[in-house]
Symmetry: C2
Subunit: 216 residues, 2 copies
C-alpha cells in the first residue's frame, strides 16, 4: 500500500517533468540539476560560475532549500534571474515546484537554467525535474567513500564535480579509491576536480556547460 | 491524501518507537541517535569514541546505511557488538528497523547504544527510533549556514557536535555566526567543538555520554 502511493507520486512527478522538458526544449534552454549533500559547495560553485559566465552565456537559477532565502539572495546579488523555492521541510525538489518557478523566469532571455536542489544526496536523484543533466557534487571533506554509500545518485548522473580539492592536503581523501568506486558504479561517469573557492579546475566545468548549451 | 498516508506512517513509527523505548528503559540502556549529512564524520567519531570508552562503558552500535557494510565493518573491528541496517535506498532509519536490529544485540551486556543514522540532515529527525537523545553533527567544511537551512533537525536536538574543527584555519566558517543561528533556533542547544581526527574536544563528548548513562 505504502509502495503503491510512492509509485503514484513518482509517476505524477514524471508527467509534470515531461511537460517541463518539452517547454524548455521548445525554448532552446538547457537545464542542469545540481545534487549534493548539504555543504558540498553548490552555492559557492554557482556564484563563481555565474560571475565568470554570465556575460557569455545568458543563464538563470532556481534555488531549492527547506527554508530561508539566503542562497537565492547570494545568487541574486550577481545580477541573474533567480527564483527561490522553499520546500517547507521536503527533502527534494519535484517537477511541479519547478513548473511554478519557470513561470517566474524570463525564459525567452536565457539559454541555460541551473537548478540547485535541496542539500541531500539521497532523494533528489529519484525526482526528475525536466532537466537535461543531473550533476552530482562531492566535496573532499565528505570522504572518498561516498559513491559506494550513495550509489543511486551516482548511477543516475553522468558528471561528478569533486569540489574543495584545495583541502586535499589536509584530508585523508584517496583520489584513486574515489575514481575506482565511481567507475565501478558507473563506467560512463566523468569526474572533474574543482575548487569553487580558488577557481582551480573550473574552466573544465565551464567547457562542459558551453558544450551542453551548444548541443542539440 | 498523500499527507494522510505520511501521517499514518509517522504514527505507526511512533508506536514501534515507544515499544523500543520501553524495552530499552527496562534494561537500563541509554540510546543516542546520531544525525548528520553524509561525510560529517559520524563513523570516525564513533570509532574514536569506542576506542576510548569501550573498557569503561559497555556499548553497542547500530549502523544505518543505504547500502554496503563498510561502516559496520569499521565499527566491528573495534570489538564491540554492531548490527548493520541497509535501508536499500530509504533515506532514514525507522523504529521497525531498529526493533529488528535490537533482536541481534546482546542487550543484557550493554549500557549504551549508539545508532548511526543514514547520512541525511533532513528526514532522520522526523523518525523517532526510541532513543533518549538525538545528537546532530555538523562539520566545519559544510559551512556555518547549516542550522538556518536545516532548522527542523536543530529544533529537535539538544546537543550539536561541531566536528572537524582542525579544518577551521582552512575555511571561512564563522563560529560566532554558527552559535548565533543555533541559539536562535534552539536556545537550549548545547554545542561541543570536536575533532574526531585529532581528538581535540572529545573528552567533553565522553562526559556527556557518561552523564547520560548515569542519569535516570
Amino acid at each position: 500500500m505504502q509502495i503503491k502511493v510512492v509509485a503514484n507520486v513518482l509517476k505524477a512527478n514524471r508527467d509534470v517533468a515531461s511537460e517541463n522538458r518539452a517547454l524548455l526544449k521548445e525554448l532552446g534552454i538547457k537545464v542542469v540539476n545540481l545534487i549534493s549533500s548539504p555543504g558540498a559547495g553548490k552555492t559557492t560553485l554557482l556564484e563563481r560560475t555565474i560571475a565568470d559566465l554570465k556575460e557569455e552565456l545568458p543563464l538563470a537559477v532556481i534555488e531549492g532549500d527547506l527554508m530561508t532565502t539566503r542562497d537565492g539572495e547570494r545568487i541574486g546579488r550577481h545580477g541573474v534571474p533567480v527564483v527561490q523555492i522553499n520546500t517547507g521541510g521536503g527533502c527534494h525538489l519535484d517537477a511541479a515546484m519547478v513548473k511554478k518557478a519557470l513561470e517566474e523566469l524570463p525564459l525567452k532571455e536565457i539559454k541555460l537554467l541551473i537548478i540547485e536542489n535541496v542539500g541531500n544526496l539521497v532523494c533528489p536523484s529519484s525526482f526528475d525535474l525536466g532537466e537535461d543533466e543531473k550533476v552530482v557534487i562531492i566535496s573532499v571533506p565528505e570522504g572518498d567513500d561516498k559513491p559506494a554509500k550513495y550509489p543511486v545518485t551516482f548511477r543516475r548522473t553522468r558528471l561528478c564535480l569533486l569540489n574543495k580539492i584545495d583541502l586535499l592536503p589536509y584530508s585523508n581523501f584517496n583520489v584513486d579509491n574515489f575514481y575506482r568506486d565511481v567507475r565501478a558504479l558507473n563506467p560512463e561517469m566523468k569526474v572533474l576536480q574543482v575548487s569553487a573557492l580558488t577557481g582551480e579546475g573550473m574552466e573544465a566545468w565551464y567547457n562542459y556547460l558551453r558544450g551542453l548549451v551548444q548541443s542539440n
